[in-house]
Structures are given as C-alpha cells and as structure tokens.
C-alpha cells in the first residue's frame, strides 16, 4: 500500500515531535475557538480531503500507532509492535487536533442547519462526515489507554496538557452528541448517535470513577488543625499501590520515562502539595474536582456526579463527627437506658460537635461544594443543604431525646446548655444556606420545637423544685438552729441557675405559657398568686407587660423573677414551719436568723440573683433578720436583764436587802450559766452574724451587770461571800458570751433543750 510506504517518514518525525509538540497542539486546539484555524500544524501532513478519504478499516497499524504515540510520548520499537497487535481495526487519522477542528465545523453546521430547519424545514443535514468516526476512534483509543483494565491512568497523574486535551475532547464530544441528537428522528444519524453516545458514556464512566477517586482522597482535618503539612511518608504510602502496579505493566516504563522527559508538575508537587488543613483536599485536587464535575454536568451526567459527591461527602462528614467523639444514640437508649452521668458526658460531646459543625464542618462543606460546583451554584446549594440538613437533623434528634428524659432538678443546667447551643449556634449557619431555603426552614422549626420542649422541661423542673420544697416536711429540726440543708440546696441551686439568668428569662417568657396552658387552670392561679401574696410590693406581670406602673412601689417583674420569688417564698414558708419545731423560741429565732442570713448573703453575693430579687426584697429580708434578732434578744436576755435592772425589793428604805440581793445574784448566775450551757451548743456559722450577736449581747448585758455590781457588789462581805455570789466578773461574762453559738457539741445541754 502506498500509505505504508509514505508513512514511515512522517511517522519518525512524529515520534520526535510528538514528544513535545503534540500536547501543545492539543492545548492550542483547546485554547482556540472551535472555528479558528489552527495556526500550527506542521506535523499533521494529510490534508482534509485525504483524511476523509481514508478508508475505515484500512492502514490500521499506522493509525493505531499514531494515537498512543501522541499521548505516550516515548515510543520504543517493541512498544510499537505490541500496539500494532492490539490496534483497533478502524483507522483514524493521525491527528486529533485536525479532526477536532473538523468536528467543530461540523457541530456548527449541524446547529445552523437546525436553525434553518426551524424556519424552512426543508434542508436535511448531509450525511455524517467521516471525521465523526475518526474522532470517535481517536478519542476511544485515548479512553482505552486511560481507562485500561490493567493500568488505569489516574487523573491526578495526567500532565496538565493531557488532562486539558482530554477535557477538551469530552467537551467536544458532549456538544457533538447533543447536536447529533437533534436529528435523532433522521435514521441517517442513528449510527453516529449510537457511536458517539457510546464513546461519551465511556468517557463519562471514566470521569465518574476519577471524580470518585479524587473525592475520596480526603483527609479529615484534625480538630486542632496541624499547621504542618502531611508528612511525606504518608503521601508516599498513599501512592504506593499505584507505584507497585506500574512496573508490571507495559506502560510502566513509559510513565517513568515521562517523568524524566516532561515537566510533570503534578508528580513533583504531590510530595510538596499541602493538603489544606481547613479543607481536607489539596488545591490541585479541588481544581481537578471542579473540572471533572463541570465536564460531567456538561455531558448530561449531573445526577451521577451529584450522587458520587453526596455519598463521599456524607461519609466524610460522618467519619469526622465520629472522630470528634460524637456517637449516635437511639432515643430509646437516651430516654430509658442511659444513666444521667453518661448522658451528661454525651451532652458535653454533643455541644462540642454541634459547635464544631457550625463553626468548621458546615462552612467547610460549603467551601468545598462551592468550589467544586463553581459554575453551578444551584447544584452546590442543593447538595450542601441536603448534606447539612442530614447532620443537623440527627444532632437535633439527640437534643430532642434529652428533652424527653425524666425531668430532674440536676438536669436543668445541661438542658440550659443545650438550649443555648440550639439558640446561639444554629443561627451562625444561616448564611451558609441559600436564602429562603426550605431545608433551613425545616431545620429551624425542628430546632425551635426542641427548644420549646427543653423550655417546657425547664419550667417543669422549677415546678418540681417548688414541689420538693413543699414536700420537705421532716419533723427533725437541725441541731443548734443551723442552716437547713434545704436552704443550702435551694439557694445554691437558684444561684447557679441565675448564672443562666438571661436564658431562663427567655425560657419562662416563651415556654411557661405553653406549660401552663396544658396543665389545669387551678395550678396556674395558685402558682401566680403565691408569688405575689407574701411579697406584697411585687406585682405579677402575667397580664400586662406594657403597663408602666407609675407607682414606685410596684415593680414590673418578669416571669422568671416571679418564679424565683415563688421559690423563695415557699422556702420561707417552709422554714417558718421548720422553725416551729424548736421548742425554744430563742433557738427558733436563731434558726430563722441563720437561714435568713444565709439566703441574704448568697443573694447579695451573686449580682444576678440580687438584681433579680431586687433591692426591696433585700431590704425586707434585712429588716426581717433584725426582727428575729430582737426577738432572740428579748426572749433569751430579757429575763436576765430584768434580773439586773429590776431593783424592786432590793432596796427597802434606802437599804439593800441582803437576802434578796443574794437571791438575785444566785438567779442571775443560774440563768446565765444555763444560757451559756445551752447556747454555746447552738450554731451560728456565719462569722459576722456570730460576732454581731455576741457584741450585741455583751453590749446589752455587760454594762447592766457592771452597773449592778457597782451598785450592790460592796454590800456583800468581801471574801467568801463575794466569791460565792459574784460568780462572774464582767470580763468573764464577755468571755463566756464569746463562747456562745460555737456549736459546741460537747455540751449536751444544748440538745436537750431543743
């Protein structure tokens, strides 16, 4: 055959030139507009007329050689032989750029004839030119090479030129296919539509696989992002499987040669290429993903592309969440099986995960999808929304389950944490979603629903607190009139709760009504009135918040304040009842003082609580305390002072009646000793209150005693008699007073006195 004779010469040229030029040609072809003439075609001698005349199925070996050569740049003789054997029976022209140009022409003519068709509906398109088949053969050969069973070529191993030319060809074949399909009713086109469609499908199949591979080449970012690049060993490891494969295959040696001959930035860079810690993909990987997704969508394979994308990202997200220690739990487990301690841990992990998602994971997903689907913002948005929604719904489900657990006082704080997380963290992802996104609306309403469940649960927990206070009806008084455990518990609980003051204000504002509406009206009434009855200065604002009351004494209070006051009042009532358990009225007063003091101190110690309770409340408390103090003084020391102050019967006609005086001293001593014995067993743990009490007692008793001594002391015979009746010097009295309220358990008298 004459072609055979002629070929060797240009072929040799080709071999040399192809190494450098061919990719360049393809590149050029890609860069030029479809119709622009290819400026540089030195190595493509056959003129178009010749090419079209080439008989299909003729000169097979040559053509087959031409193809891989243009891609696999360094052909060896043995290589040639082998490829001759494998060559396809069809004979494409030796030059892809040339054919591509013709294809572009053809597409244009097809489309223009289509336009004419619309207007005139007469001119049937000509028969399909041979370049279509040639293009199919050429491109198919390329796909065969890349997508070979034994040694597939990974996309990220292609040179930039190769990948560009491949994408260019895909773009062309996509266009060609859709142009041809316009004539699908014309049976002349059937063969070509089938042919091109098949090649397109193969190309897409390869792209899909590569897209998947690149998608899966993802590194889960550490929660504390390493600034260091991924260690090189790791990268090597990753590429090892491919490295192992290459030597076994024919092309292996070529590939290695390629590395030497061609600038393959990919390979060089791969070792240096830093996997971006905040993204999880390398820059190169991302740009490849973008190119592939674009090619797939343009080729009509959007669904496939999105499926691959969605599944890999979904799995990556799940893996990431798992890495953060977030475990999935069934509602059944959370509500009925887990103990609170382990649930508390899970809640902490949940909050962490939630924040992590909102602050890094979701923004990252958005970045990735925006990058990959750069030209298709709607695809990006829909994929991102679906992905994110899946995660959020799962997260919200957990909080929903927590809200369903048995309500208990100790859970309040974790409920608050969850509530705040849902309230504060969720809005931060708002702007990631497209505007008026249905998904976002669903997420929001789910979160809102969960929040109201948590809110109701919290309101309920406060009711429970009320109940537990009411139910604390123990008949055993606290020894020594000390602070009751109920007081401690309640006040500390409230103090801690008030650290969440603003949130609780919101909770009671938003969720209390729901709760109250659900329960019977009776409790509602009781609940609200009990808040305002005992503290008459307050007005419950359940009815009207806007009503600015001119009366200074009446203060508008929030539902949560009202709740706090109710609890305080209930505690007061309870303490009142408990104080009656003491038979000794003085001890009763001490008990009230101790507890009142404790409450007041705690309230004043916490700016949140004191601001909620208000100044008026504190003032009232202080005056209550003073009253208890007075009661105590009167009760305990009144008689004693009476003994010293009441001079009746002591002086008769200006003379001291000694027996009476003796009796006075005796009874004073006895009384004082008894008080001392009893009350040093009593407890006033608040140091300030203790010293206040002691000082006030000393101030009251000692001057009176001194005066009494001064007036009557010398009446007694010095010596034995004085010693007998003046048992205590004033200084001693002071010392003894200082021993009061020490909770001295060694003195059993205090207890017996209860």
């Amino acid at each position: 055959m004459d072609t055979d004779k002629e070929k060797p010469i240009p072929e040799d040229q080709n071999n040399v030139d192809d190494q450098k030029k061919q990719p360049q040609d393809l590149q050029d072809a890609a860069n030029h507009a479809p119709l622009s003439t290819t400026t540089e075609t030195p190595v493509s001698p056959p003129p178009p007329s010749e090419t079209t005349q080439v008989d299909v199925g003729d000169g097979e070996g040559d053509v087959a050689k031409g193809l891989p050569e243009s891609e696999e740049v360094v052909p060896t003789t043995s290589e040639e032989d082998q490829q001759q054997q494998e060559a396809s029976p069809l004979s494409p022209p030796p030059d892809l750029p040339k054919v591509s140009q013709e294809i572009d022409h053809y597409i244009t003519s097809l489309l223009s004839s289509l336009k004419q068709d619309v207007s005139s509906s007469s001119s049937a398109p000509e028969t399909v030119p041979i370049c279509v088949e040639q293009f199919a053969v050429l491109f198919e050969a390329k796909i065969d090479e890349y997508d070979s069973v034994d040694s597939p070529v990974k996309w990220n191993r292609l040179t930039d030129e190769d990948s560009e030319s491949f994408l260019d060809a895909i773009h062309r074949i996509s266009k060609l296919y859709s142009a041809l399909c316009e004539f699908s009713s014309d049976c002349q086109f059937a063969y070509s539509i089938n042919r091109i469609g098949t090649v397109l499908q193969r190309a897409m199949s390869y792209l899909e696989e590569e897209f998947r591979f690149l998608m899966e080449d993802y590194k889960i970012p550490d929660s504390d992002y390493h600034q260091n690049p991924v260690p090189p060993e790791k990268l090597n490891d990753q590429h090892l499987p491919e490295g192992d494969e290459t030597p076994e295959q024919n092309q292996g040696s070529e590939e290695k040669d390629d590395d030497d001959h061609l600038p393959r930035p990919t390979n060089q860079e791969e070792n240096v290429d830093i996997c971006r810690p905040e993204i999880g993909y390398s820059d190169e990987g991302l740009s490849n993903l973008r190119k592939l997704s674009k090619a797939m969508i343009q080729g009509g394979y959007e669904t496939e592309c999105c499926q691959v994308y969605f599944i890999t990202r979904r799995n990556a997200l799940e893996e990431t969440l798992h890495k953060f220690g977030s475990e999935k739990h069934s509602i059944d487990d959370v509500v009925q099986k887990m103990n609170w301690e382990s649930l508390e841990r899970e809640i902490m992990a949940w909050i962490k995960t939630f924040k992590q998602c909102a602050n890094s994971e979701f923004p990252r997903e958005r970045k990735i999808s925006d990058f990959v689907f750069h030209d298709y913002p709607q695809v990006s948005e829909s994929i991102f929304s679906t992905l994110t929604k899946g995660v959020i719904v799962e997260l919200v489900n957990f909080s929903e389950a927590v809200a369903m657990t048995k309500r208990a006082a100790e859970k309040l704080f974790k409920f608050l944490d969850i509530y705040e997380t849902l309230r504060d963290v969720l809005p931060t992802v708002d702007n990631l979603f497209p505007k008026e996104s249905v998904h976002l609306e669903e997420i929001k309403s789910e979160a809102t629903l969960t929040r109201s469940r948590l809110g109701e649960a919290m309101v309920y927990i406060f009711c429970e607190l009320e109940n537990s206070i009411k139910a604390d009806t123990g008949k055993t008084p606290v020894p020594g009139g000390a602070v009751h455990p109920l007081t401690r518990y309640t006040i500390n609980y409230l103090k801690y709760a008030c650290e969440y003051k603003d949130t609780l204000e919101q909770v009671f504002r938003e969720h209390q009504k729901i709760e109250r509406a659900d329960s019977t009206a009776g409790s509602d009434f009781d609940y609200n009135t009990s808040g305002s009855t005992t503290s008459g200065v307050f007005e419950n604002n359940s009815s009207n918040n806007n009503n600015k009351n001119s009366n200074d004494q009446k203060i508008q209070i929030s539902p949560f304040q009202s709740q706090l006051l109710t609890v305080m009042d209930l505690l007061d009532q309870n303490l009142e009842i408990k104080s009656k358990l003491y038979k000794d009225l003085s001890l009763s007063s001490i008990f009230m003082m101790n507890n009142g003091r404790y409450i007041l101190q705690k309230v004043r110690g916490s700016p949140e609580v004191s601001s909620l309770m208000g100044d008026a409340w504190c003032r009232k408390r202080s005056s209550d305390l003073r009253q208890y103090h007075k009661n105590y003084q009167r009760e305990t020391w009144g008689k004693l002072l009476h003994c010293l102050m009441n001079h009746e019967g002591l002086n008769v006609n200006g003379k001291v009646v000694k027996p009476v005086l003796k009796e006075r001293f005796k009874s004073f001593n006895a009384m004082f000793d008894e008080i001392h014995k009893t009350q040093s067993g009593w407890v006033v743990s608040d140091e300030q209150l203790q010293s206040e009490l002691r000082v006030s007692i000393s101030n009251m008793v000692i001057p009176a005693y001194r005066a009494f001594l001064a007036r009557y002391g010398q009446t007694l015979t010095p010596g034995r008699q004085t010693e007998k009746y003046v048992k205590h010097q004033p200084e001693e009295i002071e010392e003894l007073v200082d021993e009061l309220f020490d909770g001295n358990a060694a003195n059993p008298a205090g207890r017996r006195k209860l």
Partner: protein, 440 residues
C-alpha cells in the same frame, strides 16, 4: 412544621364530643366513648384494606408481569394498569395499592386520627386519678415505653425514605437514558450502570447495612464495599469495553445508632401486648390496648416496607386477637403484609413498598435487556422497553411526588408522639402532686 401545633388544630374536630365528656362524665359516657373509638378505628383500618373483588393488591398483579418478560402481554397490562389508577382519581378514587406510598400516607393519617381520638378518650376531661389506679397505672407507662421505641422507628424510616430517594435518582438516570431515541449502546450502558448500582444498594442496604451493628468496629463509616474496582461487573456481553458497574460502592443511607436494629425494636414494641380481659375489657384499658396495637402495627408495616437498619428476623406476627371487632381490619392487613414479607425473605428484595418492589423488578428486567442489547434495536424491542421505561418513570414520578410528603408525615407522627407523651406525663404528674399532702 406541621408537627408543632398539631394537637389543638386536630382536636377541634372532636371538640364537640370532648365537651360532652366534660359535661357528663359518667360511666355511660365512658362506655359510649370507648365504643365510638373502637368503631372508628375499625372503620379507618377497613378503608385501608384492598378491595376483595379485583386482584388482591397490585403487588400481586405486578409479580408476574416483569419476571418472564419474554412474554409481552404482562408488561403491557401493567402499563395500562398503572396509569389507570392515576387517571381517574376524581371520578372514583381508586384504592391505593397495598403498601404503596399513597397507602402509607393514608395509614399515617389513620394513625394520627386514632391517636387524637385516643387522647380525647383517655386524657381529656377524664379524672386524672384514673392514671394512678390499676389498670392504667400499668398500661399507660407501658404505652409510653412503646411510644419511645416508635420514635426510633420513625427516625429509621425517615432515613429509609431518604435512601429510597437515592434509588429514585438512580432509576431516573435509567429513565432519562432509555427515553432517548435511538436507544444507543452508550445510553444502555449508562442505564445499566445506574440500575446495577440501584440493585446493589437495595441488596446492600438491606443486608450489609444491617450488619453494621454486628461488627462493632467502632468506625461506623466502614461500610465501603468493593465490586472489584475495574472488574467487568458481570457484564454478560463480551464487550471489550468494560462496564464498571457500581464501582466502589458505599451505602447511600444515613445510619442509626450502631447496634440499633429495626427488627429488635419492633420485637420489643410488640412484646407483652396482651388484650385486656374480664372487667378491664370494658374499661379504659381497652383504648390503651387499641392504641398500643395501632402503634405497633403502623411501625411494623413501615419497617417492612422501607429499608431500615437491621431488619433481619423481623417478626411476621403481631399478636392481635381476631375476635375483637375493631381488630378485624388490622388483622387482615397484617396477614397480607406478613405474607408479602415471607415472600420477600425468600427472594431478598429491598422492602415491601410497592414502588420499591416494582422498581426492583423493572431494574432487573432492564439490566437483562441491556445485557442482550445490540444496536440497532428492532422496533418491537424498542416498544417493549418503552413500556418498562414508562412504568419506571411512573414510579419515579410517584416517588417524587409522594416521598417528601410522606417523610413530613413520618415527622409529624414523631412530633405527635412526643407531644402526647408530654401531655400524658403532665397528667400523671398532676396526679402525683395531688397525692402529696401539701396543698397546691
């Protein structure tokens, strides 16, 4: 969210009765309420039964049509059959085929109705003290326990519906590809690839996905499963061009907690479901029992129909006493579904949802077609495929239209259960408070 404020809105409809209850809270009224509740329940479920005269459910009729597709008549029948049920929804609403998406939407509606009515009978206007006395003190917590378990089923089913939507997308690829003319090799391969992935996912998510709980490897995402990457994927035609069907396959669905099993959950839900006897049978124990049964039945049929994590060994029997009037329909439905399930276990299909079953058969048939495909296709064959593709397209459309509302309904059921549970707990708490001596 529809689930949010469902309670009051719906209850308005029965407010008349409720007022009556409040007005005259006598034993007679109670009996009457119970009677109405039973009657309504029976009627509602009877509506779900497939009519006895035509073919017993289209699931059955569709069984033979695609299996032996050498014969053309069955497929043409099926094609004429499915549009038929769609075309005349106004003239005479054709009953939804058993276990179809439409049927499930009705079922969930029935559930919501029963639930609301149950609450009216048992909670509203009743003396809350009943809750503290036998038999309710035992039965109500029992129902609450089953409700909690139902919530997990709801979530699993939501995931399952999501998975079915993935299947729909895969089927849609095949539809789009095979609707093109002329049918070319590339399109056939594309369709085959999508359908193979679909079938793989159906098999995988039904079997392997269930196994997740068993291999407690900690990594929940270790669900990759390879076909042998570049393998021929069993392409029968000796193509030199390999079809990489499926490629690396990954589960398409979100998963539940690691060890969660739908079968076990249903088992736990249906355990100790004992009908009240003697005097109790006439009292408030009955509605609680009815509600339990309805709940278990609905959840059971959802699990049977939709892909769910770990369904192996799903019991086919729910203890419903046939002799009770209201239970006739439920028993009938249960037997039919159980029958289907037994068939499924033999064949290994993905779920009893009518659309899934048909989709699976069509996918198999179309894959067979694609394996034997040669270009150009004879007109005869083109028509044959067109019929199947049209049916697949019809299924996809039904899924497109029905799955999202169904998913929302499942969510509504979820929220309703949560809400009702909270309300019942509130009542119980009140009773608890009453027993506390401190005046409230």
């Amino acid at each position: 969210m529809p689930g949010g404020n469902d309670g009051p809105g719906f209850l308005n409809r029965i407010s008349i009765r409720r007022n009556q209850v409040v007005a005259m809270e006598s034993h007679d009224q109670e009996l009457e309420d119970l009677d109405i509740f039973q009657k309504n329940t029976a009627e509602r479920f009877a509506d779900l039964l497939p009519p006895p005269t035509p073919a017993p459910g289209s699931v059955h009729s569709s069984t033979p049509k695609n299996n032996g597709n050498s014969d053309q008549t069955p497929s043409s029948i099926s094609a004429s059959e499915s549009p038929l049920s769609e075309h005349n929804p106004l003239s005479q609403p054709a009953p939804a085929p058993l276990l179809s998406i439409e049927w499930f939407r009705k079922l969930l509606d029935v559930f919501l109705c029963c639930e609301a009515e149950y609450k009216a009978v048992i909670v509203m206007g009743r003396d809350p003290c009943q809750f503290n006395k036998p038999p309710l003190d035992r039965l109500i917590p029992d129902l609450l326990d089953r409700s909690i378990k139902a919530l997990d089923v709801c979530n699993a089913v939501t995931n399952g519906v999501e998975l079915v939507r993935h299947w729909q997308r895969l089927a849609q690829i095949a539809v789009v590809a095979l609707e093109q003319r002329p049918i070319g090799e590339g399109q056939v391969r594309r369709a085959k690839k999508a359908l193979s992935t679909l079938l793989t996912s159906m098999a995988f998510d039904d079997k392997e996905n269930g196994g997740v709980g068993n291999n407690n490897h900690g990594k929940s995402t270790e669900r990759t499963w390879s076909f042998g990457r570049r393998g021929g994927g069993g392409s029968a035609a000796g193509n030199s061009n390999k079809d990489r069907t499926g490629g690396t396959f990954r589960s398409l669905s979100w998963s539940m907690a690691k060890s969660w099993s739908a079968a076990k959950q249903i088992q736990a839900m249906s355990a100790n479901l004992i009908a009240p006897r003697g005097v109790e049978a006439n009292g408030l124990a009955m509605p609680v029992y009815i509600m339990c049964t309805v709940l278990v039945f609905v959840m059971w049929s959802l699990v049977a129909a939709f892909p769910c994590q770990e369904r192996n060994g799903l019991s086919t029997h729910i203890p419903v006493p046939k002799q009770l009037g209201w239970a006739h329909a439920i028993t009938g439905l249960q037997e039919k579904i159980a029958e289907e399930w037994k068939k499924k276990e033999k064949k290994g299909t993905a779920g009893l949802l009518e659309e899934i079953q048909r989709m699976e058969k069509l996918a198999q048939s179309l894959i067979e077609f694609s394996d034997a495909f040669q270009f150009p296709l004879e007109d005869e064959k083109v028509d044959e495929v067109a019929v199947q593709v049209a049916e697949l397209a019809d299924i996809c459309r039904k899924m497109e239209e029905g799955l999202a509302p169904l998913q929302q309904q499942v969510r509504e059921v979820f929220h309703r259960i949560v809400r009702s549970r909270a309300e019942v707990l509130d009542v119980i708490d009140q009773v608890g408070k009453m027993s506390v001596p401190v005046p409230y």
